[in-house]
Every structure is written in structure tokens, then in C-alpha cells.
């Protein structure tokens, strides 16, 4: 059991993709989670449902619409072409966009849960200590939601590493560009090189286990500790 040079390329690609996507997810997911946790807007349920869609949709359906949408005839495709980026399907960029959408619920939900658990009180306390809205968000909400943010980062990373269907639909199978580990395993199996498939599969298995172990170890020393807690 040994990794081929192609395997190593795939591993590197998977890790790069997951790291980039996790960073983007935290940037995008945190404000969405905050909005969902605090808004009284009637749009809340609609947005919640949209964010959660990737959990229930088959990856092929999601991948199909992304392919259409980002293709030369799709609205996103037209936009990216007009901007001179070209179309996104079958590129690393396309994979990043698709992964962000695909893993969004796994990041938004833990953050949202942590923020909802905070309740109004810490924010009111901060307001009476002259902290404005931004100050409250950065210096009270974020640090107090840390367990949720950590969980979100781990889940987002792991989920991106583990995706397969969407990649296949949108990215095809271009070595060094879109051929990530899960696709590489698929290729090995197609080519009946079970030994190679096994090496990579075992690596994924061990990796996934370690990630989850890490999460359960790090995981929330209680969100409600002695200080601030909701009424």
C-alpha cells in the first residue's frame, strides 16, 4: 500500500481546497448565523431553509444546478465571463464556490446555536458598558461563541474533504486542478487498482476519525459557564 505521485497531488489539492473553503465559510457563515440568531424578519425561515438545503439535496442535484448556473449560459457564468474570469465549472475556483455552498449549513448551524445560547443578556451588559453594535459583536459575541466557531471550522473542513458528488458534477476529474482525494479513490476503483484505493481510503478513514476525535475533545466546555447566561 503506497501513495502514487497522483495520490499525493490529490491529497495536497484536497487540503488546499478544504483550508480555503473553511476560511471562506467562517467569513460568510458567521454573519449569516448572527443574522439568523437575532433577526425577527419574516425572511428568517426562508433563509434558514435555503442554507439547510445541501443537507437534504442529493449532491448530484446541487451539482447539476451549479453546473448550469455557472456555465456559459447561466447567470453566474455570464457574470464571471463579463468580469473576464471565464466560466467556473471544471476549475479549482468552481470547486471552491460549490464547496462553500455545499458545506454552508455545517458551519452556520453550530455558530447559530452558540449565538442563540448566549441570549440577550451579555449584549445588554455590553451596551451598558458603552459598547456599540460592532464592538459588542467583535468583543462579546465572537469570543463567547468560540466553541461554536471551533465546531463549525472542524465540520466545514471535514465535510469539504469528504465531498464527492458535487465535485464530480462540477469539477470533472482534472489532475492537480479538480481531482481531489475522493475522486482519486473512485478512479483507482474504476481502474481496479484496489491496493491504491485502499491506501487512500484508509488515510481518509483515519483522518476523519481523528478530526471527529479532536472535535469531541475540544468541544464546548459548557457554553453556559458561571458568568453570562440567558434568562
Amino acid at each position: 500500500m503506497q501513495f502514487t505521485p497522483d495520490d499525493l497531488t490529490a491529497i495536497r489539492l484536497s487540503l488546499t481546497l478544504a483550508a480555503l473553503v473553511t476560511a471562506l465559510l467562517l467569513l460568510i457563515g458567521t454573519p449569516i448565523a448572527w443574522w439568523l440568531a437575532t433577526t425577527r424578519s419574516r425572511l428568517r425561515n426562508v433563509i434558514s431553509a435555503v442554507v439547510a438545503l445541501p443537507i437534504v439535496l442529493p449532491p448530484s442535484v446541487l451539482g447539476f444546478y451549479l453546473l448550469i448556473g455557472m456555465g456559459p449560459e447561466g447567470p453566474v457564468g455570464k457574470l464571471t465571463e463579463a468580469l473576464g474570469i471565464g466560466t467556473l465549472p471544471f476549475t479549482f475556483g468552481g470547486l471552491v464556490v460549490a464547496s462553500v455552498i455545499y458545506s454552508l449549513p455545517f458551519v452556520v448551524q453550530p455558530i447559530q446555536n452558540a449565538m442563540e445560547a448566549l441570549g440577550r443578556r451579555p449584549l445588554e451588559v455590553a451596551a451598558t458598558l458603552r459598547a456599540g453594535p460592532w464592538d459588542r459583536f467583535l468583543n462579546v459575541v465572537l469570543p463567547q461563541s468560540r466553541p461554536g466557531l471551533l465546531t463549525a471550522a472542524v465540520l466545514g473542513f471535514a465535510h469539504t474533504i469528504g465531498e464527492f458528488g458535487v465535485v464530480l458534477m462540477i469539477g470533472g476529474n482534472i489532475p492537480g486542478e479538480t481531482r481531489v482525494v475522493s475522486v482519486q479513490i473512485y478512479d483507482h476503483v474504476e481502474a481496479l487498482s484496489y491496493g491504491n484505493a485502499h491506501a487512500l481510503s484508509l488515510a481518509m478513514l483515519v483522518f476523519s476519525f481523528l478530526v471527529l476525535l479532536l472535535m469531541y475533545t475540544l468541544h464546548p466546555r459548557a457554553v453556559f459557564s458561571a458568568g453570562v447566561h440567558p434568562r
Binding site: R121, E124, V125, A226
Partner: protein, 356 residues
Amino acid sequence: MSTIRASFNLDFADFTLDAELELPCQGVSVLFGPSGSGKTTLLRCIAGLERPANGELHFNGDTWQAGKTFLPAHKRPVGYVFQEASLFSHLSARGNLDFAVKRAPARDKPIAFEQAVELLGIGHLLERRPEQLSGGERQRVAIARALLIQPRLLLMDEPLAALDQRRKQEILPYLERLKRELELPIIYVSHSADEVARLADYLVGLEAGRVVAAGPLAETLSRLDSPLHLGEDAGVVLEGLVLAREGKWNLVRVHFNGGELWVRDNGYRIGSQLRVRILARDISLAGQRHTDTSILNILPATVDSIASDEDTGQALVRLRVGNSLLVSRVTRRSAHALGLREGQPIWAQVKSVAVI
């Protein structure tokens, strides 16, 4: 005199606040009433944590709310102490204090860090995290934090309510020091007659979202038609000055505005100020001055007014002693037997005087 003028109108599903009041911009004003009377909501309106559609709030000439003007909570120069410990759990005690220090107005800092720490006696707790502090200690850190934001008005929402009796007794002296040593107006929400007696200078009674009584403490407590429903706690509070010590009997003589009282000597300094509380049930009345009695404090008084107590068999009698007012509760039968009427001279026999 500078004042805080407020009027709020706020509708919740199950509760309406409709309050109008004017408070002095000095000393401790207590908002007093049973739970559900709207005292916390009123305090939150003053802090800017609630936004009543109809409301007006002027602090010492500054407008915090009027018509469309609404200063959000983080722009009001108030400190707020919440009912339960409200320390940020991600910061140490010192971190919590620094949170306030960093956000206090840059120029005007009358309360130094060391002073706040010393005043609340929390010097040895600074490096601890909130979960390593007792309830009382957390509340002291929270009070110090509220002071370090350099407020011009301190709002306290039943800061002792979540604590047991012993912890309350542990914190009350700190609150009294705060009151003595800082020239900071305090609005204090409470449903405890004890806290009112110890801390209040000005008393506002609330019931079902309305102000039912408001005035200086002595005046409000001596009202016979008092809507405060103090029951067994009915009584007055007098400010006194320790005149002399009678070492032999372990007593001190305390002068108040209208006479003198013997009080048990707990080591008070001569010349120091104290507050004594005399409950209505502890004053009995006599037509003549008795000398063959164990009662130490017998004061010449005149009957100011008489009213029936809530308990129908009883009468409340307001007495004038010099410039002070006392309230006595006697049975209506006794009132009849003594032929009590307004203006009548009478002896007030004070069975017990509590220094608070």
C-alpha cells in the same frame, strides 16, 4: 436642584407600564414594589434597554429620550448592575473591569481603578475567572465594573436578589460605602423593606406599572395611607448622630431631629451618623409618662393623624416628635380607650430601635 424627569408608556402583552416620576439627582432613590409592578422595566427604560414608544427622559437637563430622540443604551452615561451575575464568562475579573476601563470616556474619570477595587474589596479576586467566584463576589466585581465605566447615574436592579441572606449581609456594607464615598446618584430597584430602610434617601412605590407613592424616605414611610403595603414592616427610618457613650450600660445616646434615643452600643464612634429604624408595631402609646417600665425610650409626641390599618382591628397613628414623624400601630380598642385625636399630646414608648 437637578433632577431626573421621566415618563414612560410601554405596552407588553400582559403588562402595561405607565409611569411618570421625578427623582433627585443625588443620593439613593429606591424603586419599590412587588414583583410584576414594573420596577425593573422602568429601570430598563431609563438605561435605554427598553424603548417605549411613548416616553420622555431628561437627566440633569440633558434629553435622553423625547419624541423621536432616543439615545441608545451604549451612549447613555449610566452604569447598570443586573440582578444576576452578569460577568463576561470569557474574561477574568480583571478582564471584566478592563472592558469598562477601555470604554469609559477618555477625559472625565473621577473613579480610579484602585478606588473601585478597594471600595468593593475585590483586590484578591482580580485574576480569577467568573466561575471561580462566589455569587456575592461576582456581584461585587459587577458593581466595580459598572463604576469603572464612569457613570453619571448608577442603576441597580435588585443586585442582592439572587443571593442568600448571608451574602446579602456581606454586600450591603459595600453598597453603603458606595453611597457615602461617591457623589453618584443611584437608582436602586428592590422589593425588600430592609434594603429600602438601609439605603434609600428617596422612595418611589410602584404597583401594576404605576407610581403610587414618591417622596423623600421619611415622608413616604410615615404616610398612613401608604400604598406600599409594608404590613409588619411598616415603620419609619431616622437619621441620627451618636452623642455620647454610656459605657456602664453598653448604650449610646443618639440625637435625631426631634429628640434623643438610647441605642445599644455596637462600638459606634462619637459624632458618627447612623440610621435607625423604628417599626410601627414597636411603638406603644401612653397618656402619662411611665417611669416604672423597662422601656428605655419614651418620647413626648403629639398625635398628627390617625388611620385604620389594613388589618381592621388596628389603627395606625402618626406622631410628631420635634421635627420627625413616627408611626405607631395600636389596636383600635386602645386608640378608643386613650381617646386619641389629632393634636393630642401623648407619650410614645419605643420598645425597640434597630440600627441599620
